[in-house]
Symmetry: C2
Subunit: 334 residues, 2 copies
């Protein structure tokens, strides 16, 4: 089983357009380790995510291509959150009996989705391990190795009282998309459904934005995988600060509002507690915020969302017309 | 669940004696990525292995400590086989309901076994991911990042016709140890049983030897995880050569002979086809073999085993009094 999947992975890695790492990848799949030559003056970034069928995804929602692509995207998003560039990846597969035939139609598009997404941002699939699953569920682990110029990485721990809090896009759309997949008949226009479902199945890792933010005096950063209430709480905890989020500033799209209404869900809750949007969330001193906003708007066509302020103390607080509500870590559970 | 296991891992990583990587590990568990500073003039080695309960291990044989330790050892062995030094590791856990309470007695010794083994060879646990399992089986993935001086790595692909084939220790003992664990009553002296069982449950990654061999004109190397017939076949395939193994030179210990006899197994088969010994297997030009043997003997107290010769052609062949037998890839299946 193992050898033939390796062949398939090798094949799909080779059919790609020229890749930035190619010159520095010395040995890849087919030896005891992959070997590559890091850039001078860079530090290494290491990140890994596991996705288990029935826990993190259902094969009734994902095409194999989109599943491979999402596995890459969620890992690449962690590299984006540190302002780095991905270079290489390792893939671990636990393969259930139904998929253990390497000629299974599942594998070529899965590998293509994964390898193409990695290549889009400059990384190659360099190795991995393929084993039998203990049951009939597929399990996927991807480890991504990235690089970041020494001194350029942005951590969770640098937020200071007075910093302004920003996020890169609408949040909550992914969780609403998943809900639409799970409910059979949701009375919404097809384009709205399609948009929200795509936000769940095919998120975009914000790598270019992350790198740009390394030059914008950003003090802390994280990617929003578990909802604003949880991911901002990580920043607060690591930085030893608190945060006030402004309810009327939450990045809720028109599509999200109409979907929340059709599903009978509170739109604010889906923004605060819904996961898997993979937007970036960061803090910046107020004196630097105008410059940062201008730079991002010039590159992206639209500015980032200002959503609140870092304060002394601890925890994440939602500020609305009723007052302050503690929402620390009230996040998304996969 | 996830956060508390992270706390446990942090705790056990911190109680260790000072580690070589400590100075260069900038951020570890608790950010989006781990970050570390690679040595100048080194290339990176990447390797990963997944172990699934019921496929690769049974919790009725392993203590949690030994399981964590073995997970580290099998990955470190791949770094040894490329003549590198391990630096950092990432751990992915798929946790079944019975073990999802982080106060479960299982986790502290498991993490200790893993982290101490990594530290023994200079690596730290720098991050990972913890998710719910899709069933009641535990699944473990470790990814190890190592370094090797530029130009020093030893690959599978360098063997040439005429090279002599060596291995670092007795082979087949691990598979016999597993068999003893599986059968209830095997008529063997207790010390023999204990030795063979320890060879299965607690293999030693040959990192010091691997590094030494980088200075011994070695042309190719691999670690023996799937038996000589399979692992030597990898070298032959990648190098475009064949190999003759001499039956009367096979590294079969006295303990292995008596166990094979008590179990009604052919001792030669257990040496050729038994897996998980994690000894090193390498090739060296015959003109350099005496020097290499001397260096290894001086460091290890005993020389390596000479077991056969690389030849033109392809495949792995066993040479005994009856002639030549093709044993290519007749290896171990987990």
């Amino acid at each position: 089983m193992e050898l033939d999947l390796i062949k398939l992975i090798k094949h799909h890695s080779r059919t790609l357009p020229s890749q930035s790492l190619e010159g520095s990848l010395i040995t890849a799949i087919g030896d005891d380790c992959a070997e590559f030559s890091p850039s001078a003056d860079s530090n290494l970034l290491l990140t890994t995510d596991t996705m288990v069928e029935g826990v993190h995804f259902s094969l009734s929602y994902y095409t194999p291509f989109l599943l491979g692509r999402k596995l890459a995207s969620v890992n690449l998003s962690d590299i984006a959150a540190m302002a780095g560039n991905p270079r290489a990846a390792l893939l671990n597969l636990e393969v259930p009996p139904g998929l253990s035939d390497p000629s299974a139609a599942f594998w070529p598009p899965f590998i293509r989705g994964l390898v193409e997404r990695l290549a889009e941002f400059g990384a190659v699939l360099a190795g991995g391990d393929t084993v039998k699953a203990s049951n009939n569920k597929l399990s996927l682990t991807l480890t991504v190795i990235g690089e970041v110029s020494k001194g350029q990485a942005i951590y969770r721990k640098g937020a200071r009282a007075g910093d302004m809090i920003y996020c890169s896009g609408f949040v909550g759309e992914s969780a609403l998309g998943l809900k639409i997949l799970q409910e059979r008949h949701v009375p919404l226009p097809l384009p709205v459904k399609r948009h929200l479902i795509a936000r769940h199945l095919d998120p975009t890792p914000r790598l270019h934005l992350g790198e740009m933010l390394a030059h914008c005096s950003v003090t802390s950063m994280i990617d929003i995988s578990d909802g604003i209430a949880t991911d901002l709480a990580h920043i607060c905890k690591e930085s030893g600060v608190g945060a006030d989020i402004l309810a009327n500033r939450l990045p809720i799209s028109r599509a999200a509002r109409s979907a929340a209404s059709a599903l009978g869900i509170n739109a604010i809750s889906s923004c605060l507690y819904g996961g898997e949007d993979y937007e970036l969330l960061w803090t910046v001193p107020s004196s630097k915020s105008a410059d940062m906003e201008k730079k991002i708007a010039a590159a992206d066509g639209h500015g980032p969302f200002f959503i609140g302020t870092i304060k002394k103390g601890s925890g994440v607080w939602l500020k609305d017309s009723q007052g302050l509500h503690n929402i620390t870590f009230k996040g998304y559970e996969h």
